[in-house]
Symmetry: C2
Subunit: 223 residues, 2 copies
């Protein structure tokens, strides 16, 4: 009863890639099976949560023994749609985009950077990892030709919405947005956002709380 159209809780979907990474690591280090406790530790969650998550995929464990690593990798990759290598477009090869274009993790974990775009004509033609940077005006033609459905957006915030609109009308239905702004997109398009400063600000909140604690304050009153 394992299905692709499977409706999984979003929280589970977000953890499956971490399980997958941990399972690959276990496989690489010579393991064949792993207990929920073992895999949970490797993935940084508790074992009840792990078992609950995996139970949504169907039954890949054996009571008293654990999970068969090989088949479980196959099932998670299948559910995540990683049985094909997905083509990704990257827009914006500035500081961050340039680094993302060279990021080995994309290649090793199911993706292929199929096109690079930038609005700056002086960067067009430049090769990164053997792939030439194209002008953003080529987005419609190239995205269609390469059947690209996923894009990584690494432009300045001021350009992000316009580029997103162009990507979407060319056929992109998933966007990973590194620009610090909110994108407005049709319902059928999925957006995930990574904002590096926001991550640090969340940590800053906890630093602030920790220092209040050290001062023995239960609620350092402002002013």
């Amino acid at each position: 009863m394992s299905q692709a159209g499977l409706d999984l809780p979003e929280a589970t979907v977000a953890r499956l890639p971490e399980y997958l990474r941990a399972l690959h690591h276990l496989a690489d280090t010579g393991h064949d099976t792993v207990s929920s406790e073992g895999l949970a530790n490797a993935a940084g969650v508790n074992s009840a949560k792990l078992r609950k998550d995996l139970s949504h995929l169907g039954s890949y464990g054996t009571r008293g023994v654990g999970y068969d690593i090989g088949p479980l990798i196959g099932q998670i990759e299948y559910v995540l749609g990683l049985t094909m290598r997905r083509a990704v477009a990257l827009v914006g090869v500035g500081n961050l985009g340039h680094a993302l274009a060279g990021y080995a993790g994309f290649t090793s974990r199911g993706f292929r950077i199929a096109a690079l775009f930038d609005a700056d004509t002086t960067r067009v033609g430049e090769k990164i990892n053997g792939l030439a940077v194209l002008h953003v005006s080529d987005i419609p033609v190239v995205v269609k030709r390469e059947s690209i459905s996923i894009a990584v957006l690494a432009t300045p915030a001021s350009a992000a919405q316009t580029v997103a609109d162009q990507l979407i009308s060319a056929g992109v239905t998933s966007i990973l947005n590194f620009a610090p702004c909110v994108l407005s997109v049709p319902d059928r398009v999925d957006v995930r956002k990574v904002d590096l400063a926001i991550e640090l600000q969340i940590l800053s909140f906890h630093e602030h709380r920790k220092s209040a604690h050290v001062n023995g304050l239960n609620g350092e009153v402002r002013k």
Copy 2:
């Protein structure tokens, strides 16, 4: 009754930086007040959630009018601990780390990269944005001297745990981890993880589901 030791729901903490970004944008474009509906749109959430979140900070709105942007920015920055510019250490100036070292968003949004480290002696001494790369063996001395409590980890996964241990014993209590691995740290240390391949894999899951839908399948059965 605004307090620093304030216990906020984690979900609220994670959204405050987004509100802050939207508020700065509104302030920059000449606005003085904004309604919950207006700010919610700018931040990509619904207005009920926004009002609930802000209610935890105390009362900064006026019924019938909206929120005063200036004071609200001040309050959110205060709660997030951004009234001081926090010193950050960055370890690993490879592909991604080099880009992060030059990321303007860190500087403009409350942080100061105070030290760069790498294990590769051939990179030690190299200057990035005017700051020299130091060897990881300098972590204990420099982290203490500069009172650094936040670190960004952009090393290979194989080195991440060892470097994290060194950072923590030098006094770091918050880590932003870009290495694709789980860190084990004491309870007092906060870790946030950014895994670029995982973000794409989550999008891939939704792509897979969308294509199953197009095929009219309610549950494309496997095999």
